[in-house]
């Protein structure tokens, strides 16, 4: 039998036909279509499909900003999947801001600190908790042994709250008064209240009920105070027929949403407020019942105003027309429930006491203090019941010594200025001064001069990088902590963050870290910390409200209109303290000001990848920061073109956004970019404006009041 070509062909055709009739073709076609369509070609998805399960919700509180909104964490199969606003919560009732909703990104942030770290050369090595605590307590014990306990300092983000309370207790028992908070709306409200009404008081604005809000640069829609509460108050404004006037050199979202935008020259807010005070006094538009409470020389104040802040002079200083100033002052004074709000941007930026008191004096003049829709002046929130600290001799002598600075900025400057270390050890908690304070080089230099720095942080941020030992903290979804709302709301609310997920890394509650340090010190310090854990401490110091905190997730401390008139001491303003001016140098003709953008943050944490993603390409393009500038300011600059921006602090390459919404002569640069830590989604984008602006400390308060800096810009 000969196998010829034909039979060979038969074999082939037969094979093909056999396969064709068999299910192989059909099945493989189907399978390969599934293969191409489904996730098999994307191996990640086969290993990590988002697993389904029971949907549950847990209520907690967000502590990313002082707003302290209630949050609802949606969990699937016990795995947190999404954070949303909590309906019915007294602060935010349902809404949420983009940062809170990105909260879970912080949990898995690439820059999270996974275990205690110790500085080794330029990098860090992992150490155990026991090791870290014993090294810290060893150093601190030496400082006490030397009889210089005041050389322990602490920087944190707020004064209120039990973790801050523990830090203050540690410093007290140790023997140091060097406790500092970062500039915050909380501190500004208290400083202003202290100056005008007396110590121990604070101010709150009833924005929800006011019919005329006159905001001096307060970014009510930029994240000022409690952002969601502000958004809500603004949303009901139309129905309430309430007006919003915004004083700001730039058309911010708040200015855009306002009934009137008053584009005053940067840094002239105090002048404008005083000019309006002058109009109100001159035209007898003030409330005589209210002015009866003025002490310290109302007549002297009025005379000073007529002399220094006449309409003509104010118009010249601020760049606002006389008629507009007059109209605004009259509108404010004649409104039923007017409120003048201070705290530029988010309320935590550079401000002077002069500006804040000048604005608040408007409130005092029109008699809206402690009235619905006005301004509440009341005692500071007190809900923690810590027992008195027992101090030994060393502690007593140390505590008796004065703080080395009135503010954190002044303290750092003192450190820089002295040859010998005035601070031997620094504990930084929930703060990033190496990023958020003006002239970051100066801050880093001061911190590097402090021989021993401990950081209690969740992220390896700019300041943690400078630390000798890092004790990693939980994020707000991992730990228990009381969070008071400190953002100028009339409702005083304390919330409780709850652990909604088991800690992802080997971290601890900052409160527990502080307890561990305290207990490792000698008995005279350790004896003040009788609790076995932070949780036990929290329950005992919040005993009065613990039931409602643990059951409802929050406690309302007060929400009614406070009663009683408030004395107003006008002495400080009557002397007309000098207005802070921007740091300048010859040839620098423009003013660079920071822009607070709701989609970014500039505090202790950086913005999340989601938040950075929402940032417009007129703010950040590639890795270049875009500055806003009015086309009238500099001829020859092109929109989207490259430019060099120079201030007395340094020069940077920027892109230009020609924008009609900014005052000519002013350059606006966003705050919150230019981070340098290890998170590629967030860091190394743009520049940190604090590298370009230096602090200008107000005399008498030590507050950094640098609203901006003189600058020049040229085509690159």
């Amino acid at each position: 039998m000969k196998v010829d070509r034909r039979s060979f062909l038969g074999l082939g055709i037969g094979a093909v036909a056999g396969i064709a009739v068999s299910p192989v073709g059909l099945k493989l076609t189907d399978d390969s279509s599934i293969l191409s369509q489904t996730t098999k070609l994307w191996p990640w998805a086969l290993d990590h499909p988002p697993f389904d399960g029971e949907i549950t919700y847990e209520s907690s509180v967000c502590s990313l900003c002082p707003g302290s909104c209630g949050i609802s964490v949606r969990k699937i199969d016990n795995r947190p999947v999404k954070i949303e606003g909590l309906a019915g919560h007294p602060v935010n009732d349902g809404g949420a801001c983009l940062h809170g909703m990105s909260g879970l990104q912080y949990l898995y942030d690439p820059a999270r600190i996974k275990t205690p770290l110790k500085k080794k050369g330029d990098s860090f090595e992992e150490i155990s908790w026991e090791d870290a605590i014993s090294q810290i307590s060893g150093k601190l014990a030496d400082i006490r042994k030397n009889g210089t306990p005041e050389k322990l300092a602490c920087i944190t983000n707020k004064e209120q709250g039990s973790v801050s309370g523990l830090l203050q207790r540690l410093l007290g028992a140790f023997g140091s008064s060097n406790f500092y908070t970062m500039p915050s709306l909380e501190s500004y409200l208290e400083i202003t209240a202290a100056q005008l009404h007396g110590k121990g008081k604070t101010i709150a604005f009833d924005l929800e009920n006011s019919d005329f809000v006159l905001s001096f640069g307060a970014g009510l829609l930029e994240g000022w105070g409690s952002p969601v509460a502000c958004f809500k108050a603004n949303a009901t404004r139309k129905q309430r027929h309430a007006k919003l006037y915004q004083v700001e050199p730039r058309l911010s979202n708040t200015a855009a949403g306002a009934d009137q935008w008053i584009p005053a020259k940067p840094g002239t807010e105090a002048d404008l407020a005083l000019g309006m005070c002058a109009v109100i006094l001159k035209k007898n538009l003030f409330d005589s019942n209210a002015t009866a409470n003025f002490k310290g020389g109302l007549n002297k104040f009025a005379a000073m105003l007529q002399k220094e802040y006449s309409l003509e002079k104010t118009a010249q200083l601020t760049g606002i027309k006389e008629a507009d100033i007059e109209k605004c002052a009259e509108g404010f004074a004649k409104a039923k429930m007017p409120v003048a709000v201070f705290g530029k941007g988010r309320g935590d930026g550079a401000q002077s006491l002069k500006e804040m008191t000048a604005v608040h004096t408007l409130n005092c003049l029109v008699g809206n203090i402690n009235k619905k829709g006005g301004v509440f002046v009341q005692n500071k929130t007190q809900y923690l019941e810590f027992s008195d600290v027992t101090m030994d001799n060393i502690a007593q002598s140390g505590s008796a010594k004065a703080k080395i600075g009135l503010s954190v900025d002044q303290m750092l400057d003192t450190v820089n200025a002295s040859a010998k270390p005035v601070i031997e050890a620094l504990i930084v908690h929930n703060a990033n001064p190496c990023y958020s304070l003006r002239n970051t080089k100066r801050v880093k230099q001061a911190i590097s001069k402090i021989p021993f720095v401990v950081s209690l942080s969740s992220f390896l941020d700019e300041t943690a990088m400078q630390a000798d030992i890092i004790l990693p903290s939980h994020t707000f979804v991992e730990g228990l902590e009381d969070v008071p709302n400190l953002a100028g709301l009339t409702k005083k609310v304390v919330g409780l963050t709850k652990p909604v997920v088991t800690p992802v890394f080997d971290t601890k509650n900052a409160g527990d870290s502080i307890l561990m340090i305290a207990k490792a010190l000698d008995e005279s310090v350790a004896g003040n910390f009788e609790w076995d854990s932070y949780e036990e401490c929290l329950e005992s110091v919040t005993a009065g409200i613990w039931d409602s905190l643990s059951e409802d997730g929050y406690a309302i401390l007060s929400e009614d209109v406070p009663s009683g008139a408030q004395m107003v001491n006008i002495g400080f303003l009557a002397d007309n303290p000098p207005t802070v001016v921007a740091q300048a140098q010859d040839g620098f003709d423009f003013t660079l000001i920071p822009i607070d953008n709701m989609r970014l943050v500039s505090g202790a944490v950086a913005a999340s990848p989601f938040a950075v993603k929402t940032v417009s390409d007129t703010v950040l393009k590639g890795n270049d920061i875009v500055v806003e500038i009015n086309p009238m300011t500099v001829r020859g600059l092109k929109d989207k073109g490259k430019a060099t921006l120079t201030t007395p602090m340094g020069a940077v390459k920027v892109l230009v956004n020609l924008n009609e919404g900014i005052r000519p002569g002013v350059i606006g640069m966003v705050e919150g970019l230019g981070h340098t830590f290890d998170n590629k989604y967030v860091s190394n984008k743009g520049v940190n404006i604090n590298d370009l602006i230096g602090p200008v400390l107000e005399s008498g308060t030590g507050l950094d009041a640098a609203f901006g800096i003189k600058a020049k810009i040229s085509k690159a």
């Binding site: 809404g95 603004n234 058309l251 990848p609």
Partner: protein, 288 residues
Amino acid sequence: MKQEDKKAHKFGMVVDLDKCTGCGSCMVSCMAENNVPFKEDETDKKKSITWMRVYKLTNGKSFPETEIIYMPRPCQHCGGKGDHGHSPCVSVCPATATDYGHDTGIVSQIYTRCFGCRYCMGACPYHARYFNWWDPEWPEGMENYLSPNVSPRMRGVVEKCSFCYHRYQLAREKAYVEERDDIEENEYQTACTTACPAGAIVFGDLNNPEHEVTQIVKPDPHPDPRNHDVVGKSRNPKVFRLLERLGTNTKVYYLSEKEWVRKAGDNYRDGEWDKIKNHHGTTESTHG
């Protein structure tokens, strides 16, 4: 059962642009809800996937008369000419990977079925569709927050806003076990709507006169006598749709007191706006 099925929904929303503050909550809520990824550089907005995107509009006047307003733009869920379901994107899809749900009015899609020709992106007048140029990636551990209710998309497919359809599905499941025939207005709300701190977004069934969205929009069920392709025009003179005259019959309406904002909703030739602005949003039939 057949009886109720005939009662089709027409889900839509109205955004109060005077309330919108441009805060970006809706964008993040959407991304977190729908497993939208992020990458190192998101500043090339053509390649940045944002189902919900907030645009900034300006009146173009110079300082200090400048005004700005923010406009959130989800998928507009076009009903197409005459509102028959021929959405611009659905009509051009060669893979039948996207189609129009006549029972909901929602333009739906099967990501895995898409083969990435991007015709739909070209057809969409609103730039609401996005192409995945890369497989999404999450930093280690972060995939733990992904939701099983929306499947992650791979490289090579187009995606867009779904009006959070999975929330509709979940609401319906709940109604089924409770043996209810239909869902309540508050049971199905999109993630952007619930997140908005200003309450600027109102979402609901445009076919249900009880729903707030219908009461604000007051959609005209009859075709516009001047342009029969247009159906569902708002009878509220402050409400407009984007590029309404194209007859795309979008289900996302916008509300503003400001005339320049309403004018910005379409490209008008010189003098054209002045002719129609006074009866904008109304039809001759309603004038009687």
